[in-house]
């Protein structure tokens, strides 16, 4: 085997097309061994690059996630403000209950979806804390939507909204959501900036 080594090499050289890959293939393992044996400094940059790439990807993803969340959150904030304005219009008699409720009911599902998306996104991107923070609100949205009695015209029912302080509780809910979304907004903003810096 040893005697023929050079020959083989030669042969190999002749069949460079085949050989080159082989060499590389062989070398690579060697280099791996070498690396393992102690030349870490030389070989790790490659690994780092890969990791960096992954991290970069992750960070980029993170940035994307937070930018999206931020936008979504902005939309939710606007929606909350819209809810509050419409409800207070109703409170002040600027609009009637019917148009108020039909306006608001239109946006109940978009709000629900918008918030559910952020929540799921946070779960996927493994931001547990933010996910857990969002979970109750998202659950409440869904619960509220599901629990609408069959005879009602939506979450906001014009015949009920003036009863039993519903208007006030809706208002309170919208306020709380606004506060929550504002909190989230700044969290997302901070996280996004952090992600950008780390990138």
């Amino acid at each position: 085997m040893h005697q023929n080594y050079g020959f083989r090499l030669f042969k190999v050289d002749h069949n460079s097309r085949h050989a080159a890959p082989r060499r590389r293939g062989r070398r690579a393992p060697v280099s791996w061994d070498q690396g393992l044996s102690g030349r870490v400094g030389v070989r790790q940059p490659v690994l780092r690059k890969k990791r960096r790439r992954r991290r970069r990807r992750r960070r980029r993803m993170e940035v994307v996630v937070f930018v999206f969340s931020l936008l979504d959150c902005c939309a939710l904030i606007f929606l909350s403000v819209y809810f509050i304005i419409t409800l207070s219009d109703l409170e002040c008699d600027y609009i009637n209950a019917r148009s108020c409720c039909s306006k608001l009911n239109k946006w109940v599902i978009p709000e629900l979806i918008g918030h559910a998306i952020v929540t799921v996104l946070m779960l996927i991107s493994l931001h547990w804390f933010i996910f857990l923070l969002n979970l109750p609100v998202a659950t409440w949205n869904i619960y509220r939507f599901i629990m609408v009695p069959s005879g009602n015209m939506g979450v906001f029912d014009p015949t009920e909204i003036h009863n039993r302080g519903q208007l006030k509780s809706h208002m309170k809910e919208a306020m709380i959501k606004l506060g929550f979304h504002l909190l989230c907004f700044f969290m997302y903003l901070y996280s996004m900036i952090l992600a950008l810096i780390n990138d």
């Binding site: 009637n96 209950a97 015209m153 039993r164």
Partner: protein
Amino acid sequence: MLLLPYSLTVCYPVSAIEYVFTGPRIKIPLQYLVEIENSIRKCPAQNQMQFPSGYGLHPQNYIAPSGHYAQGPGKMTSLPLDSQRGDYYSGLYTVPTQNVVTPNTAGQQPGAQQMYGRVLPAPHMAGSALGSFPGATSSASHVHMSASVNHHNSPAVGAANSSVASQGFPSTCGHYAMSTVSNAAYPRVSYSSPPAGDPYGQQMFTSQNAPPVRPIRDNSFSGQNTAISHPSPLPPPPPQQYHQEQSLSGYSTLSWSASGLPSTQDNLLRNHTGSLATANNNPTSPVADSLSSSVMQNVQPPVSSPVVSTVLSGASSARTPAAACHPAEPAASVTQPSELFQQKEMSSAHRERTVPEDRHHGGPELNEGMQYGDYVNNQASSAPTPLSSTSDDEEEEEEDEEAGVDSSSTTSSASPGPNSYDALEGGSYPDMLSSSASSPAPDPAPESDPTSAPAPAAPQPSKVAKPFGYGYPALQPGYQNAAAPPGSGPPSASPVYSGFQQYAQQYPGLNQLSSGLGGLSLQSAPQPESLRPVNLTQDRNVLPVTPVWAPVPNLNLDLRKLNCSPDSFRCTLTSIPQTQALLNKAKLPLGLLLHPFRDLTQLPVITSNTIVRCRSCRTYINPFVSFIDQRRWKCNLCYRVNDVPEEFMYNPLTRSYGEPHKRPEVQNSTVEFIASSDYMLRPPQPAVYLFVLDVSHNAVEAGYLTILCQSLLENLDKLPGDSRTRIGFLTFDSTIHFYDLQEGLSQPQMLIVSEIDDVFLPTPDSLLVNLHESKELIKDLLNALPTMFTNTRETHSALGPALQAAFKLMSPTGGRVSVFQTQLPSLGAGLLQSREDPNQRSSTKVVQHLGPATDFYKKLALDCSGQQTAVDLFLLSSQYSDLASLACMSKYSAGCIYYYPSFHCTHNPSQAEKLQKDLRRYLTRKIGFEAVMRIRCTKGLSMHTFHGNFFVRSTDLLSLANINPDAGFAVQLSIEESLTDTSLVCFQTALLYTSSKGERRIRVHTLCLPVVSSLADVYAGVDVQAAICLLANMAVDRSVSSSLSDARDALVNAVVDSLSAYGSTISNLQHSALIAPSSLKLFPLYVLALLKQKAFRTGTSTRLDDRVYAMCQIKCQPLVHLMKMIHPNLYRIDRLTDEGAIHVNDRVVPQPPLQKLSAEKLTREGAFLMDCGSVFYIWIGKSCDNNFIEDVLGCPNFASIPQKMTHLPELDTLSSERARSFITWLRDNRPLSPVLHVVKDESPAKTEFFQHLIEDRTEAAFSYYEFLLHIQQQICK
């Protein structure tokens, strides 16, 4: 400014001393008094002591607890105002013996009345006043004592008055009336009296008012007295009463004497008190009322005698000093008050000036008086301010000034608002003040005292005999500010203010004053009775033998007289708690029950170019506003000061100018305005009726068309409407049939639209036609309709599309759609599935499907409502038809719902007859179109839930496409802001509608209620029927939104909570027993009745539609009818006699006593009539007297009575005559004409009858006794 310190000082003492009552010249330590009070409270036997709010019981009272006294105290406790009145009275009463001088007393009576108002509070007031006084002048105990004594006396008087009132003696009313009359003569005087009436909530007002009033009163009283003596025999008869009263007055008198006030003045005061006492006495006798009234009138003429006024001024001065606490000072103070009065008068430019002037003369302190007067005027409420400290804000302009003074005098918060309130409430008070102007000084003091005193309520009376202070003591918390009285100068001024305020108020509230007085007395009377603890487990006969009447709010007589009829407007608590915390403590629902469009026999209709309304809150002018002067009035809901328009100055009734307070708007709490074009968004619509008829096989089989067409033919000319009336018909099965009735056609044309997915109108114009132009065609159609579909094979019902078509047809005009449906809609939009599981009918667990299955009908109803169209549903079905869903079409469009289970025209004749009668009523009753109803309430209260058939368009605006006389509404209230600044709250409903004649009209009801600060007063004022009806409404909501079992639990908890809350207020009573205040003794019974009602019962087989229908009924029936549904009335009718019979339309109607709803009351020998609202049952016992069966039923014996008997034959026998006239009387004016069932014992139908015996045990529910034990168990947990 001075007043402020005074008030403060006074307040402190007052608070310290609650119940002070001194016998004449006898000073009783506060503690002692308190003990007395406590003992009184504790011991039911001591009725006298019953006054919950430390009624300053006069030692004398104690000593001589005459029946009157007892009553008086009770009333007293309830009414803080009384104390104030007491002050006044004290002045008046100074000489108890003088009281004996009843003739004079007549004149005095007004004052007394005023006093009463105040007096009631007086005990408290007195206490407070005393406290304040003592506190203020601890060192100057003598002087103060005297002042306090006066106060006490006055409270005592008030108590006496109150007691009288509580007794509900007409005579008291008469007194009040007297006061009112006097008010008329002396506007201020009358006002003062109203404050007196206020005692409960508005004590402050009264108290404040009272002081000023006193002088006026004196004058007026004197005049009145004379008048009274002549007109009213009552004064003489009541000597004993007088004595009692005198004793009360004696306190005051004693106090006065102690104070060293002019004896003459005192005498006058005493006389007044005496008159009051007499009045009180009179009340006991029915005649008294008439007398009192006569007295009132008489009083007016006598008006104020100058001398009296002068005396009064002296007295008043004394009173004012009382505040100052120095007898000597009183005179000066008096003068001041007089001045104040004068000023006030000047400002108001009212009649009472003369009296005030006298006072002015008496007192150099005109300036102060002026100030006071201003205060009074502006803050008529301010006088009461102590109470109304918060209210001030509202009154912006003048109020501020006055408020400033008042507030100073009162406490910090007492601001114009309260004053305004006081003025409003105690409008009479101001009058009183004016009247008192003659005795101004005392008045001011009283005011100050009252403010301080009222809060303490009574404890002080004994200590201080201050005449002035008395009035103050009467004033409750509001008055406390006045408490300052010890600091003679300022306090006096403050009282003066109150007086002025009263004056201002008096203009509007002259009547109020008198009413206030009366109210006080009345109030006081009910309190003791309504607070009497009842051991429910031992007292087995809680149900009274006569129908339960609505409790009368504890207002003064004037106000009470003016107040809205309880038939139209009721509140669950006739005494509104001051704060939400207090309400929560009481655990009682707070809400209103309305019957706004009730058929009225008497209704003032006002045609006027300008309808006077508050500029900021748009409240209509009403009897409870206060006139600051002739040109301005203060809104009683928002306290804004508004201008009186020029037109309003002219009174069309009397054709006089310059008497805005005598306008019918201000004299009646229920009025109707003819609205101008400002109240129209479009020209008034014509009456439009559309009938939507189910003609599927099922409907034809049931045969309702015959009955309907027959009824329509009969009533076609009686349909409400004018020459523009339009009518249309539409029938449907699986297709929709329109009828072209255009004039000129030879016969009606039927147009069939089978496109039910997208309904359209085949012709636009000729489907709704003018009733008069096309009458022949319409008659042809009605004659043909019943036979047109006899051979139909179509079983489907396209109700949804038919309703859409109806909506399209009606939307250009609006009107009424009457839908007749006999089965589940099975085609097109809005189709429904059967949801009922018959096996679950008697389930004790979950009852499902109480809510609608689809929102189609709700949306349709809202569309209809938007187009001013109401949908009335007649459901005539033999099987489940999902009423829960169908009812939505009526619920939200302000329609009404009729349900005839198992309807069949031949198989079920009773239902057929019922339909026929209902239709007759339905087609011919009044109707209002394109209506809206707005409910307003005093600032601080808010409405949060509405019950009834309507659509809530905005927070307080109910959109009613139609309004009919059988619609009732309920509103739940919450107390958003503390009501401490005010002693009265008002509620106003305004119903704007288009009459069937095309007139735009506004019907306005205004209800005025006192505000109270103690739990006992809240319980004393419970209207148990209203509370039950409101609870039933709430329970319906709960059943639908949550579950039936939740609703049932909530009902039981309502009883448990309220009784345990009450139990905790009466410590020391047997804990083992279930104790309820007398006012609530029927509460558990009614709740048990509710639990056994079809709507809420479990365990008994109940069809879902029946249950839902019962719930719909609860939601939209007015209280009177609902109560019969909940708790039927049982009478024994085999022994009807003319004893106690009433005469109606030349018929003698026997009035048999009510029986308990228990089988134990059913004897086999008897015959019983049960009135369940929509059904009458006559149960015939097995061994019933054959004479009865023969004479009334027309059968020879029991065995021959037919099984299904629905009529009583018209036999020419006395007992038949009686029975029929009784039943006819019961039937009158029912929205649902009751069907009569004769039930033989042993017949299968008797289960129907027996399930209404709610006190008995059933397999699924408690008996009444078991229920009580259950509650007791829950309470003990």
